[in-house]
Amino acid sequence: MCLAIPARIVELTGEDNARVDLGGVRKEISLALVEGAAVGDYVIVHVGYALSLLDAEEAERTLALFAEAGIDVAAAAEEGAAP
């Protein structure tokens, strides 16, 4: 089970792409699978795609839970890419 790390959209970079912040790591991802995503929204990212939009409060709760469990969000996000 791939852990769902909430990523915050920091910039829309055109053509359905965006830059997100994942625990301090910046990544370019595709927004092709979600509709209406805007800067400041949280999304769940998998292999370069935003899979779903998250409620900000829920996202922050999940991030707090990972922090509480000692899970390094940035490292977990790096592991999220399947070959």
Partner: protein, 361 residues
């Protein structure tokens, strides 16, 4: 985080002589211990990216059963779980398999169909039409029993998806060893099989059925469908796994088209305070076991499909060991096909064994 699944092989003269499966996936279920049941259900669905709907449904069913309550998950949750399963199948069929086989992936068509499925609660007919159009591209009828050559020809006459399947039928390994397919027994039977009606830590890491590893997933669910059964009979288990996913997309379309379709998951309770839920996901059986005392979770266990299929002596291990190809690189490529067909739910890689193990290979 050490969450990667490492698949290590020793290849010699085009034959895989040694295999080691290292599953470093962390067991995250303990994060739910000490939570109130409603909080645990929400967290379960938020913790995991690829199967959040299934996790949320399993958690709700398990805590309801533990508390002696009737299942309270709405029909929409069951349908959303099915949509999630279909979206995962699309990803493999339209993106991952074309890439693996050196073909062009279908990002735009995939994104369009993925979004249609995401909107299936409001507009099921759009999602159903999209799924049916994709399934038609396979070129075969699921009720047709065909030999491999006839199936390959049918796929070639289909469309872009058929092209992928035809190429896969040629490229995928033919199995030497078979692993039992996990039967669909339901939560009641599982509850009776497990000590105290709950999976223990050993079962969560290395689940077994009748004391042996078993394969879970689309193949196990659709093995009796004629088009899948004919591939199985020819030993083409790897291709059968992918064709079984196409069969499931056709089934999902039928369920989404039927507003009265029943639940896709169930739960049972071995004793007061203990609940066990079974949900079928894209990758196979997802099991949640929970103990609840006074509305608080005291023990939470999750058994994910990857633990079945990548059991150290499970289906990946058995079908990889002894695999023969025209050369070492061809053998490695077939191992990659097998891993993708079994579809781990965490990041994975295939590499050669090193050091002493490689010498023994």
């Amino acid at each position: 985080m050490a969450g990667r699944l490492q698949l290590r092989v020793g290849v010699e003269h085009g034959c895989v002589r040694r295999v080691r499966v290292e599953n470093g996936r962390p067991l995250a279920a303990h994060l739910l211990n000490g939570r109130r049941v409603d909080e645990a259900v929400t967290l379960a669905s938020n913790l995991f990216s690829l199967c959040g709907q299934a996790q949320g449904l399993a958690a709700r069913l398990a805590v309801d059963a533990a508390q002696g309550l009737a299942p309270s998950a709405p029909r929409s949750r069951h349908r959303a779980t099915l949509v999630e399963l279909a979206q995962e199948h699309l990803w493999r069929l339209m993106i991952d398999w074309p890439q693996r086989l050196g073909m062009t992936d279908r990002r735009e068509a995939f994104a369009d169909l993925h979004r249609r499925l995401a909107g299936a609660a409001e507009a099921p007919e759009t999602a159903v039409a999209g799924l049916r159009a994709l399934v038609a591209e396979s070129g075969f009828a699921v009720d047709a029993a065909m030999d491999t050559a006839a199936l390959r020809d049918a796929c070639r006459r289909g469309g872009p998806l058929g092209e992928v399947l035809a190429r896969l039928i040629d490229a995928a390994p033919v199995a030497v060893e078979c692993t039992a397919l996990l039967p669909q027994v339901g939560a009641g039977a599982w509850s009776a099989r497990l000590t105290d009606g709950m999976p223990d830590a050993a079962f969560c890491r290395q689940p077994v059925f009748d004391d042996a590893p078993a394969e879970t997933g689309a193949l196990a669910r659709q093995a009796k469908v004629p088009v899948v059964a004919s591939l199985l009979a020819a030993g083409r288990r790897c291709a059968a796994r992918v064709v079984a996913r196409v069969v499931e997309l056709a089934r999902v379309a039928s369920v989404l088209a039927d507003p009265a379709a029943g639940p896709v998951a169930d739960a049972a309770s071995a004793s007061a305070g203990v609940g066990l839920a079974c949900v079928e996901t894209a990758r196979g059986l997802l099991m949640h076991g929970v103990r609840v005392e006074a509305g608080v979770v005291t023990d939470y266990r999750i058994v994910a499909p990857t633990e079945w299929n990548f059991h150290p002596a499970g289906v990946f291990f058995r079908e990889t060991l002894g695999l023969k190809a025209t050369g070492d690189d061809a053998a490695r490529s077939q191992v990659q096909c097998l891993a993708l067909a079994l579809d781990p739910c965490v990041a994975w890689d295939v590499a050669d064994l090193e050091g002493e193990e490689a010498i023994r290979a």
